[in-house]
């Protein structure tokens, strides 16, 4: 009986292995830089199912998350002075659910693409109306809605995976962007 047990356990394992290893080539593979989204209010979808919503959704970013993988990032992988897609794969999208004010300029509710031109101490963040595109390869200044210079803040512990998230401030939120040893903050005001 013990032999039967071992045999069936063995066949189960074989089955499980073959089961997991066969995959279809025709359908898209999983991205190396996975996509993610962040809301303001932070974790809005989770607040919603926990009945903890106190304010309506104001903003959301959707972006690809490349990894540092031991490489120097700014000034190297991401060159200074050039338009960077602020992510990977599809262009990074920021959506405002209401009209907002950034750097004293009114931005209408809607979807936009976000780019950056990094340099050592200051990044220029670009809000563009050219949505649903790929990376920054065909970036066109004609579609700029706004350019905002933001100072670079050094972070002590390097951030492995590129990250965009929001945090609360008075009458608005900050979009926090961090990768490797750099962090920038874009204030978004609800007025």
């Amino acid at each position: 009986m013990k032999k039967i047990f071992i045999t069936s356990a063995f066949s189960f394992c074989l089955f499980a292995v073959s089961y997991a290893q066969v995959d279809s080539a025709a359908l898209p593979p999983v991205d190396k830089s996975p996509m993610d989204m962040s809301y303001y209010p932070v974790d809005y979808p989770v607040l919603k199912i926990s009945d903890k919503v106190t304010e309506p959704p104001a903003a959301r970013v959707i972006y690809g998350r490349p990894q540092k993988n031991g490489r120097p990032i700014f000034g190297s992988l991401v060159e200074y002075g050039k338009v960077w897609r602020l992510g990977a794969n599809e262009a990074t999208e920021i959506e405002f659910y209401r009209d907002v004010t950034i750097s004293d300029k009114k931005i209408k509710k809607g979807r936009y693409t976000l780019y950056a031109i990094p340099s050592e101490n200051i990044w220029t963040l670009i809000i563009s109306k050219d949505t649903d595109t790929w990376g920054a390869f065909k970036y066109d200044i004609k579609n700029d809605v706004l350019r905002v210079p933001v100072p670079v803040i050094q972070v002590k512990a390097p951030v492995e995976t590129f990250c965009m998230t929001f945090s609360k401030i008075n009458s608005g939120c900050n979009l926090v962007i961090a990768w490797d040893n750099s962090k920038v903050i874009l204030p978004v005001l609800f007025k």
């Binding site: 066949s11 394992c13 499980a16 292995v17 066969v22 898209p28 996509m35 649903d132």
Partner: protein, 201 residues
């Protein structure tokens, strides 16, 4: 004797409800980070998006976008990790969020016809009720939510679509558009199950 063998192997299988940790063929992108990300950890089930026209952002980049933008789906991609889809993951008749984490979102950039029904332009979340031979795909207006706890009072459309069993097993849940004549299909595929939602516009 045969019965006892069968019984014994069933009992054995049942004991192995915890899936064996085995090497997956897919690129292991979803590993935990060596150092915790202080802002936002990387999801185990990564998010992805699919457009119709297929690869619209790349077409746009190469100025090959001959057809207007129709639809985009944003969803998360859970993976089997040795589990069978209906052996430890989903149950027939129980709503399933068609993904993971945030509710799966469909943006329609124009009003179109889906499975013969007119569907208005706008944003929906999708969930499903899988059965053995058909899946009900639900379009719901409770957007910007987490995939659990679908609110059926905000359902907008129900589509019953047949499912087929495939020879290939798909490790990561996949939603992708394909061109049809005329229109497009939204393919839903995971494990050995495949279903298609038919769009015309």
């Amino acid at each position: 004797m045969l019965c006892s063998i069968l019984l014994y192997s069933c009992a054995d299988t049942a004991k192995k409800n915890t899936p064996p940790r085995i090497q997956l063929k897919d690129t292991a992108i979803a590993q935990a980070e060596s150092r915790a990300n202080p802002y936002s950890p990387v999801d185990v089930s990564p998010m992805d998006m699919s457009y119709y026209p297929v690869d619209y952002p790349k077409l746009k980049m190469t100025k090959a976008d001959n057809e207007p933008l129709v639809a985009r789906i944003i969803y998360s991609r859970p993976h089997l990790q040795g589990r069978g889809l209906f052996h430890g993951l989903l149950s027939y008749g129980q709503p399933w969020r068609l993904g993971a984490n945030e509710a799966t979102e469909l943006d329609l950039f124009k009003s179109i016809t889906i499975q013969g029904k007119k569907v208005s332009e706008g944003r929906y979340i999708l969930y499903s009720i899988p059965q053995q031979d058909k899946w009900t795909i639900v379009f719901n207006k409770n957007i910007d939510t987490w995939g659990l706890k679908p609110d059926s009072t905000k359902d907008a459309f129900h589509f019953d679509i047949p499912v087929t069993r495939t020879d290939n097993r798909i490790e990561y849940f996949t939603m992708v558009f394909e061109k049809a004549a005329p229109g497009a299909n939204l393919i839903l595929a995971w494990d050995n199950v495949e279903a298609r939602l038919y769009f015309t516009f």
